[in-house]
Symmetry: C2
Subunit: 470 residues, 2 copies
């Protein structure tokens, strides 16, 4: 609970305009992009710099007040829902690109910078920041780092983790530490940088980051391959990789997804195809030409009914943009959209797609599946209605089976969305009791009062997706 | 201390042939490649599988016996010197490549596999394992992972950390956990995989690893550029990167190093040049051609007195091999060789080289400097004699100044060799008290009895390089 005294101390640090405990203010931050999950925080604060973050954290630590660091709340795991109350930290005042270093190819940013602004700033200088989560137009880089966000370019370029070289972190006791640096190599101590990437705000608050940039690829080409058979598309994915070609993007969309997307964007997508692969390659013109010819051959050898190269940059752009709208497009079908991100080794994509379809049938649910097939990272998505409790129960059961199947195939319960509240009950499937114990030892060591985003990642009990504390 | 009862229990697990507490056996493992550092273990064990490792660790944990996991001891930071006694764990029975997965481009290995065997196995299958530490002919992959080894290809391809996708780890309490998997994306829980990479054996024992492989580059070219001026060479390095070219290798050798190497390999290296850059680019033939032309132009624009492209694969190979002998070549000069790996942002290379030369002069020491200049990762090296206490004192002081200068330039005390015993007193320079406290919280959480490689990474006091417990 926030006493009047605590409130006064906080206002003395950040000013009254940056402390909000009004009902309206609290309601605004009682949920994030995760469906069917809501809980009121006690207050919302907007510190203006790292020192203010540190001072606020010290007060919270003294008084055991939960802290929920929040970007724009685009996550899909309930990671920023204040399920245990406490204080939501916003970074709207800490939203500057502090430096673009053209000698070292780095960008230093505050957590509140929008991901797309990082990408655009890099591109304007002939550089490339590859991580491109679906939410990049509205997500913040601080959120991306805390969730280790992925995206369409993960296959060739890796994920957010691979582009974070250093961090400034406010620890649970208010200490400010700096990890890493503009350094291609650094083995001075434990890799705290990468421990905090993807820690979902449960170990501290990221207040600054040094991002790695790479030279921008010279050119890019896009292929759309259509299939009459889901598994043939999945086999194509494995075969491309096994042929030692790593495309920049290798996306999969099944028929229900294509239909939803076409209904939304209306660019003439082939709604009759059972599955579509959207394949991009970038690099030097010669290399791209060579790779794309091989890729087209592989698509045909796996019975693609059509293999088309985008003729213009605009046409290619339209296809990628269409793919990026998949979630929004499906979200138009029904009031609630449940999307997960079970991930398997690439070689198991065909088996996983097959299993998802069998599970959909078993539970009588319309599952649209799309995703980053080159990463083995699928997004089975169910348009549903949270008010239909009976159907929601079936949705939960179906996803539980999907998670179990992914683990069975050597996969994981979440490829890029994080554990948060929603997947916490399933984490043990992946890590086992001893793995969870190892994580808990780290958590207890770094946040002994459990103030940093409590209730996330670690499962309390078997509770699943529920509406809490409204 | 190892009591008779403990010895019996251990022998019951691994057999008498895999337990050695003879004076000779213990002497063999009382030191590693780090100069002037020695301490006797109480015993040396060679478990045959993960379960045996786990059983042995449980006994050590019960009895608070220090454990030193050891590959082939090629590290240069005293990381495998049993400074607090206890038991050295060898992995000579756990030295198999368990699987090469051509669909997922992964290799699953036991810790005792020699690094070069991983590289060769990959290459024989048209694949590439890029990390290539100087010791790769004799080092083990387990050691590489625990030290997060770098090498010549770090600039373009990253370090060991970037190629470890999953681990099997025996924790300090004997628990066996599995992290990661054959997964391009996985955010299920904290990134334990990368926490253990570079943890120097202080958090647990790595008993299996899934390595990421990439398609092998089609072709490679090598340039040797000679300079009359050290700083011009350093400026060339920055300029290449700032021109958005990332070469596969970008090595720097100063005159004393070139002279030592030529004296050793006798291939006609230009011993009069003040500095040499060895530059490799790989990729498609067109890309390599284009990049190398640009690189040659940049070298000339920075007053290189000669820019030569190797005419044959053999000639290129001879140059790289010569560079790889640098440490051995310098080691022939005097009985003791002290080599460090201070690392700075690439843009600061010129300043760092200049500072090293000034420090060498100040302390009247012959410092040979070579290293991975593209990474900002330099190896200032002093040929000396451990018996000359007065000179050794000056060596220590010189390196302390080098570390301080590196930090001042935004760098780190160790780019790829690890902290171990030797650099522990300097770690606080990089991380500050709060950073060390964060590491200590993790260490205490995961190894409460401090049995895992105790005395490493964390400084006890201000003691530096010393001969201990002979």
């Amino acid at each position: 609970m926030i006493t009047e005294e605590i409130k006064k101390r906080m206002i003395a640090i950040i000013g009254p305009e940056n402390f909000d405990d009004s009902k309206v203010g609290r309601l605004c931050y009682s949920y994030d992009a995760t469906p069917d999950l809501q809980a009121l925080p006690d207050a919302v604060v907007s510190p203006r710099n790292t020192e203010e973050v540190s001072e606020l954290v010290k007060i919270c630590n003294e008084n055991k007040i939960p802290i929920v660091p929040r970007g724009t709340g685009t996550n899909l795991c309930g990671g920023t829902c204040p399920t245990e109350g406490g204080i939501v930290f916003l970074f709207k005042h800490m939203n500057q690109i502090l430096e673009l270093d053209l000698d070292n190819l780095t960008m230093t940013v505050q957590p509140g910078v929008i991901t797309l602004d990082v990408i655009k700033k890099a591109e304007a200088n002939g550089l490339f920041y590859p991580p491109d989560p679906g939410s990049m137009k509205s997500s913040t880089i601080g959120g991306n780092i805390s969730e280790n966000s992925g995206g369409l370019r993960g296959l060739k370029y890796g994920v957010t983790r691979d582009y974070v070289m250093g961090l400034e972190i406010v620890m649970a006791n208010g200490d400010i530490i700096r990890t890493g640096g503009k350094l291609a190599k650094d083995v001075a101590g434990y890799d705290l940088t990468r421990l905090y990437v993807g820690a979902e705000g449960t170990l501290g608050i990221i207040t600054e980051a040094i991002l790695k940039l790479v030279p921008i690829p010279e050119t890019k080409k896009t292929i759309l391959a259509l299939y009459e058979d889901l598994e043939a598309a999945a086999r194509t994915v494995s075969k491309i990789i096994a042929n030692k070609i790593i495309p920049a993007t290798l996306e999969f969309l099944d028929q229900p997804t294509i239909a939803a997307v076409e209904d939304y964007v209306k660019i003439g997508l082939p709604t009759e195809a059972k599955a579509v692969l959207l394949i991009e390659q970038d690099g030097s013109p010669e290399q791209v030409e060579k790779d794309m010819a091989k890729i087209a051959d592989i698509c045909r050898s796996e019975q693609a009914v059509s293999v088309q190269m985008a003729k213009t940059v605009e046409e290619a752009e339209a296809l990628t943009t269409a793919r990026r709208t998949a979630l929004s497009a499906i979200a138009r079908i029904k009031p609630t959209t449940i999307l997960e991100d079970a991930t398997v080794p690439r070689s198991e994509i065909a088996k996983m797609v097959k299993a998802i379809n069998e599970i959909a049938e078993k539970y009588n649910l319309p599952i649209c599946t799309f995703g980053h097939s080159g990463d083995g990272n699928l997004h089975p998505t169910v348009p549903t209605d949270a008010r239909n409790k009976e159907e929601m129960e079936r949705v939960e059961q179906a996803f539980e089976e999907i998670f179990i199947k992914a683990i069975e195939l050597g996969g994981t319960i979440t490829g890029e969305h994080g554990v948060g509240v929603v997947k916490a009950p399933y984490l043990e499937l992946k890590l086992g009791k001893a793995g969870i114990a190892a994580m808990m030892a780290i958590k207890n060591g770094l946040d002994p009062n459990n103030i940093m985003n409590p209730g996330k990642v670690f499962a309390k009990d078997s509770r699943k997706r529920v509406v809490v504390g409204q």
